[in-house]
């Protein structure tokens, strides 16, 4: 992938891919994870990131890379921090998990 140098890269996937529902209004999304019953409010960056994970297991560097392309005006460091925070939160509630 984009950063082969990283040691032991964690790839993330959606825990139960068939069970994620989402709608978006004016660029803000509301996502519902059926098994956990969890509902999340996601901004555009977060929704796009989750969409990418739902499309197939993917590492954090690739997610940051793609998000930077979406929002070229934002500093990479900001995006990196946002993506990592999001991953931690989604993993904490069980929507995503490391791909073994």
């Amino acid at each position: 992938m984009s950063s082969p140098a990283t040691t032991a890269p964690v790839r993330w996937r959606v825990a139960c891919p068939g069970d994620l529902r989402g709608r978006s209004w004016d660029g803000v999304s509301v996502v519902h994870h059926v098994p956990s019953g969890d509902t999340q409010l996601l901004n555009a960056l977060a929704a796009a990131t989750l969409q990418r994970i739902a499309a197939g297991a993917i590492g954090v560097e690739a997610l940051v890379e793609a998000a930077c392309k979406d929002q070229p005006a934002q500093p990479r460091a900001d995006i990196d921090r946002q993506v990592r925070t999001l991953l931690a939160e989604l993993a904490d509630v069980g929507i995503i998990e490391p791909d073994a």
Binding site: L20, R23, S24, W25, D26, V28, S29, L41, L42
Partner: protein, 336 residues
């Protein structure tokens, strides 16, 4: 037959043995052996239909005096299904507590609906959902719309949304007003029938207002007076503020309403889809106001715009009073 068809003596007598009253889709047997409570309810429920027994009940509730070593006459107890609910209460508090018990029944049982915590009023079959932020003046505004604005009351406390249709079913109970809003409503809408004012409740002084006959008539029609949600309006009373209607972000409206709903989590994916359909079908606004008449004018304008848009061309529903272009069908939708 409605409650008002009975003489007050007949009503009093029947209440001691139990009367089945229809509240929206619900059949509720009420047994009340507290004379002053039955008297007040004769006024507040005058236009509610009485159901002949035997009938299958949704809720069986009672308010009875407790006779107990001299302390007795001053205390009362409330029952659901023949089982005591809550701690015994001062008899003076029995009327508002009994109204609260009726609300509790509707908040906690009919999971065939998505039960949102919100007032709902309708013009024809177009409903405005007013989510219940405490202190925002939801009940006062709701009373004004119903008694001064030609809107009908679906409920002061709950929006009952049917998942398969997205429609809201009316289940109106007398609106509860508190503290300073009581004299305002009494002065502005003298024709509104008010029950006795009760001091020293958890919410201070409260008064209940009879549901007007016009709202009851629609609820008794075929289809039960159901209405399509068209607007979600977060009211906010600000003393001295000019009336102001601003579009509210829909996704945030979704989260606010979900967090405050009675059974959003319980219904799981059904709750999510049903609420998402409601939000999809609605314009969302924040409404700031100080004068009830101004607020009513805003509601009337929304309704007339929607009616004319619907009659001119059904497919091109655009625009809102603020010109935001916040149209229900322009949203993007999809799986993330």
């Amino acid at each position: 037959m409605i409650v008002g068809d009975l003489s007050i003596d007949d009503w009093q007598h029947r209440m001691t043995r139990g009367v089945v009253v229809r509240i929206g889709p619900f059949t509720v047997r009420m047994t009340v052996r507290l004379r002053e409570v039955a008297d007040a309810m004769y006024l507040l429920y005058r236009d509610y239909p009485i159901q002949p027994e035997p009938i299958v009940l949704d809720f069986d509730v009672a308010a009875l005096p407790i006779s107990w070593w001299g302390r007795g006459p001053r205390m009362a107890a409330l029952y659901f299904d023949g089982v005591r609910k809550f701690d015994p209460i001062e008899r003076e508090q029995a009327l508002p507590m009994f109204q609260w018990l009726l609300n509790w029944c509707i908040f906690t049982h009919p999971h065939q609906y998505l039960i949102l915590h919100s007032a709902v009023v309708a013009r024809d079959d177009m409903a405005a959902v007013l989510p219940g932020m405490p202190g925002a003046g939801k009940s006062t505004l709701c009373t004004a719309l119903v008694h001064g604005g030609g809107w009908r009351l679906l409920s002061d406390e709950v929006a009952l949304v049917t998942p398969s249709t997205g429609l809201i079913t009316p289940a109106p109970l007398p609106i509860g007003l508190k503290e300073e809003s009581i004299p305002v409503i009494a002065a502005t809408y003298p024709h509104a029938r008010m029950g006795p004012s009760v001091r020293g409740t958890r919410k201070g002084t409260v008064v209940h207002i009879a549901t007007p006959a016009s709202s009851m008539a629609a609820a008794s029609e075929a289809g039960g007076g159901q209405a399509q949600p068209r607007w979600i309006i977060f009211p906010e009373y600000h003393a001295g503020a000019r009336v102001q209607l601003e579009p509210a972000p829909r996704a945030n409206a979704f989260m606010t309403i979900a967090a405050d709903a009675f059974n959003y989590s319980l219904l799981g994916a059904t709750g999510y889809e049903t609420l998402a359909n409601v939000v999809d079908a609605c314009h969302c606004f924040n409404l700031q106001y100080s004068q009830l008449d101004d607020a009513i004018a805003v509601f009337d304008q929304l309704a007339s715009q929607a009616s004319s848009a619907a009659s001119s061309s059904a497919g091109s529903l655009t625009g809102s009073p603020t010109g935001s272009g916040d149209a229900p069908h322009s949203t993007s939708r999809g799986r993330p």
